[in-house]
Each structure stands twice: as structure tokens, then as C-alpha cells.
Symmetry: C2
Subunit: 319 residues, 2 copies
């Protein structure tokens, strides 16, 4: 009936997204504590820090210390974010990070200008430069991200054809520069997606580029993060970005109350309940979510961390 995958991979972005937006300051050792807790949950990819300008993002002024401090676990890939060559060099200097290059664009030039002060043409040049820099440093470019793939506060509804155009455009640049993009990340940056638009966009992209793996990056701004992920799974999507406890949010999204990524443990709960394997220990993940709430010092949006898993009820009622 549907293309539900047997297994779903989850890329945890909570530490990076969450600590970026919190008014803080959050002590370095507490950031490390959360990363260490997440490493014990079965997550296979964790984005641990953001190498950005400390003046612009004071929450990540301690990126070097955080990355030095956490314990590396076998089988877990640790990633970081950077936005320019300086950030990339800091990440290259660190030990134990998995270096994967990523290029990105958006369907909405208005948003791009607000977010990066660049238009489409200039962004293509930036992408070319980025790919060359990655190559110089031996960093493979594997991921292309399309922001505002479902709608934009500045440009409104985004037609499916424009998403396909944006993917085609960025893949063209990658091809010309000899980069082999494996993953297309479709981002609902401002919470415009609904289950049917997810199916339309994923369907169109999948039909045109059946060999690429699609990742969904879904913001939960209007409470549809989990249902949009499910709609993606119904179309065979098996790769998601998410944030433990729902940590984070987009400081550039142009409105107050912008929720962060879909919540990791709510997504894992749904998958496991449907028999879709994630490799993640939900109860440990819930503990990490509660730790995240303790660290930021205010309630976070996750639901399963409040309602609890069904494990203890099943144990109690097992015959």
C-alpha cells in the first residue's frame, strides 16, 4: 500500500541547533554532557557544534572546547556545521569529526538575500568556491540542501516545479565541479509543509532523481513535523534530521515562536511503534531529552519525554 521503509536513519542536530539559539550562557561541560548522553542512545550521527562567528552566535563561542571534550563512541559519526572557510579549517583541526561537505540553496531568492545577503547567481559562485575548497582539503561533498522547499514567509507557497528547478540547479553546479552529491536534503525551513505537499515534492524529486537519497529536514513550527515525516516515510524517505526534545529553532525565519526541528524521540517513538527500525534505545533517548531540558532550564516541546514510552506499561502487562 505504501513505501514505508523498514529502517529509518536519524541525524541528530539538537546540540548544534539548540545551543545556538538558547539565550544561555550554557556551560561547556553541560554541552559535552548532552553529547555524551546522546552517544549512548544508538544514534549514529550527531551534529555536535557550530564553527561560526562567536560575535554573531555567542552560544557557539566554545565550539573548539566542546569538540575537544566529548567522548568518541565507536560507530557514531560526529559532525559540525561551518559557514565559511575559517569555520571549515577549525573543523579540520579538530580530531574525530566526520568531514562531509554540503552545499545549499533555497527555492526563495528573497529568503536567500535576507539569510546570506546573496542572490541566486552569486550563490552559485559561492557553491563553486565551496566545492573547490572542500576538494583542496580532501573533504567529499555528499549533501545538497534545498531550503524553503515547501513554502517561504517572504515568497509564499512554492510550486513543486520551483523545487525541482532548485535541485537541478544545485546538482548542475555540483556536477560541473566534479562533486558527487548522494543526499538531497529538502528543508521545510519555516514550517509550511503539510503531508500532501511533502508527498508531492518528494514524489517529484524522487521521480527525477531516483538514484539520490532524500533527507527531510522538517521544522515543527505549526505542529506538523511528525505527520510530515510520516508522509515522507509513506513515500519511502528513510533519512531525517531531528533534534532531541525539539531543541532549537531558526533565528532567521522571520517570526517569533519558530519551533525547531521535529523532535527526535517523538519521531523514534512513532517509527518503533510502527515496526520501523531506528537502532535507537528510546528510553535512553528520553533520558537525554530530559537532560536537555534540565540544561536549557525551560520546558522543551517534545511530547514523548512528558508522556513517557510504552516500555514499562508493556513490561507490566506482559504474560
Amino acid at each position: 500500500m505504501t513505501d514505508l521503509p523498514k529502517r529509518v536513519d536519524i541525524q541528530e542536530e539538537g546540540p548544534r541547533e539548540g545551543f545556538q539559539i538558547e539565550p544561555g550562557p550554557i556551560p561547556t561541560e553541560r554541552k559535552i554532557e548532552l553529547i555524551d548522553a546522546l552517544s549512548e542512545t544508538g544514534l549514529k550521527k550527531i551534529q555536535v557544534a557550530s564553527y561560526v562567528n562567536p560575535k554573531k552566535v555567542p552560544g557557539w563561542a566554545d565550539a573548539d572546547e566542546v569538540v575537544k571534550g566529548f567522548r568518541r563512541h565507536d560507530g557514531v559519526a560526529y559532525h559540525a556545521l561551518w559557514l565559511n572557510e575559517k569555520g571549515l579549517m577549525r573543523a579540520l583541526d579538530a580530531e574525530g569529526l566526520e568531514m562531509i561537505g554540503s552545499i545549499s540553496t533555497t527555492t526563495s531568492e528573497s529568503f536567500m538575500i535576507r539569510n546570506t545577503n546573496r542572490g541566486f547567481e552569486e550563490n552559485r559562485q559561492v557553491q563553486r568556491n565551496q566545492i573547490r575548497i572542500y576538494k583542496q582539503h580532501g573533504v567529499p561533498v555528499r549533501r545538497a540542501s534545498i531550503m524553503t522547499a515547501f513554502g517561504c514567509n517572504f515568497e509564499g507557497d512554492i510550486p513543486v516545479e520551483r523545487v525541482v528547478w532548485a535541485v537541478d540547479d544545485i546538482l548542475g553546479v555540483a556536477r560541473e565541479e566534479g562533486a558527487d552529491v548522494e543526499v538531497l536534503s529538502l528543508a521545510d525551513t519555516m514550517g509550511w509543509a503539510n503531508p500532501e505537499s511533502v508527498k508531492r515534492v518528494v514524489g517529484a524529486v524522487r521521480e527525477r532523481w531516483p538514484e539520490k537519497r532524500i533527507c527531510l529536514h522538517l521544522h515543527d513550527t505549526r505542529g506538523l513535523g511528525v505527520v510530515n515525516a510520516y508522509a515522507g516515510m509513506e513515500m519511502g524517505v528513510d533519512l531525517f534530521d531531528s533534534s532531541v526534545a525539539g531543541l532549537g529553532g531558526c533565528p532567521f525565519a522571520g517570526h517569533k515562536g519558530a519551533a525547531g526541528n521535529v523532535c527526535t524521540e517523538d519521531l523514534v517513538f512513532m517509527c518503533e511503534e510502527m515496526g520501523i527500525e531506528t537502532g535507537i534505545d528510546l528510553d535512553r533517548l528520553i533520558e537525554a531529552a530530559r537532560l536537555a531540558e534540565d540544561i536549557v532550564g525551560h520546558p522543551l516541546p517534545g511530547s514523548v519525554m512528558k508522556g513517557g514510552s510504552l516500555t514499562k506499561h508493556r513490561q507490566k502487562t506482559a504474560h
Copy 2:
């Protein structure tokens, strides 16, 4: 591809559920204020009060005053809840309520005993008596509810066959007593459902009783309320109970942090974004949700009331 309905009807339960569980006391005029605001949104059914024992549910000690006080709007049906003949008589004495009788059972005898102090056999007798009392007072019995239709904290996972058995059992009682049940309400009382289990249960019930209308009553305990509603819509379900702002929760569900019903405005947002008509003005509903939050004096779980609708962004970007 799917059986998504063209139109969805929503039965608002926020005032009744919410004011029942709030530690309160909430002034009568504020309860009336919320009901009046909801009447302006396009909602066609609103459950406005609970005629229950004021010693057990002090939040509804003022049910008579609330029901006297709100403004009746043409085209809106106002409902109340009662649990025994005394409550029914109070509702019959009130003016301007739509009187629809409902009988209920559960898949889980353990939960029934905890919730009502009755077993299955005794509950059948109670249902028979209820139907006779309804008949005496000229109240049509139209709805049969199956609680814990997807899982139970006291009995664990509930096989689909047991749900079908419970529906068959309660419809048998109704038939013997000459009651014409039109709506089968399947309730995820404790937040055990997932999209695939919703599809299995709805599919089995729909196949056996294709002439009945199915209603889903979904608690959002673990964040899957909206996705479970979507899965129901994919199976053709077009009737849902919900609570504005996510007001409410089940005081008997046996664990802390039990979230209430799925949030009305999040559900309406999803429907309208997918082109499914609800007849509801989302922006007015969001105002009512914010009013509900103001009335209870603490944050409520709804998302769209925080993220906002897309209306103003679309207006801004329209050409």
C-alpha cells in the same frame, strides 16, 4: 491513492475537557467567554459543559450557570456530557442543548473497572438501562464509543480482533434495545495509537460495519495525535473530536503528564492546508486558543497558536 475526505467535521471538546482538569477555579464568565468565542469560529459542534458530581469534579460545579450563560448561535449544536440519570436530567432541563445519547465500552476490562468500578457484564446492563432512560426522555442514541481502542496502560497492546469484538458487543446491546447507533467513536484514551495501528483498526471496523460513520478521539499523550488523525483521514475518516489549544487531559489515564485531545487548530490547519474543508476560520480559532491559554493561566500544548497561521504571509506575498 488514498481515501482522504473532501470535508472533515470537528467536534470541539475543549471547554468540557479543559475546565474539568484545570486545578482552577476558573470564573463562570470566563468559561462562557471561551464558548462564545468558539461559536464565532465556524465550529458546528461544541461540548460546553459536564453535568457531573461537583464533589468529584469541582471544575464543573457551575455547569448549570455556564449553560445558561453562553449565546446560542444558529447552526452550532451545543452538547454536554453526563454520566448518569441525574446529569441527564440537568441537561434536559437546560435550554438549547442538542441531546444525543451515547453509550460506551472499552476493550480493556481492567481499565473499565478502574474507571467505572464495573466489569464487562455489568457494563452491558448499565448500557441497557441507559438506552431505556434515553428512550423515556426521547433522547436518540446515536453514538457508541470504544475506549482504549489502540492500547491500554493496564492491559498493554490491544489486538484488532478485540476492538472488533467490543464494537460488535456494544452494537449488539444497542440493537437489542432498539437504539440506532450511527457513529462509532474509536478512542485512543491513553495515547497508544500510531498511524499504522489507526489504519489497521479503522480498516477492520470499516470493513465489518461500512454503514457506520467512524469518529476518532485521539489523545496526544505522545505527540502522535495529528499524525494519527491524518492516518485516519487516509482511511476515509471524516469526523474527529478535538480540543482548542489542546486543552484537557484524562485524569484517569494512570500517568502524569497525560496530554489532552489532539489540538483543534493544529488539526484544522493541517486539513485546510491539504485542501480538506472544515468550515472553520483558522485565524478566529487561533484567537480562541490564545483566549483559552489566557483563561487557564499557563501554556497550552497547541502549536499553530504559537507559530501562527500562514494567512498573513500569503497576503503579504500575493501578487
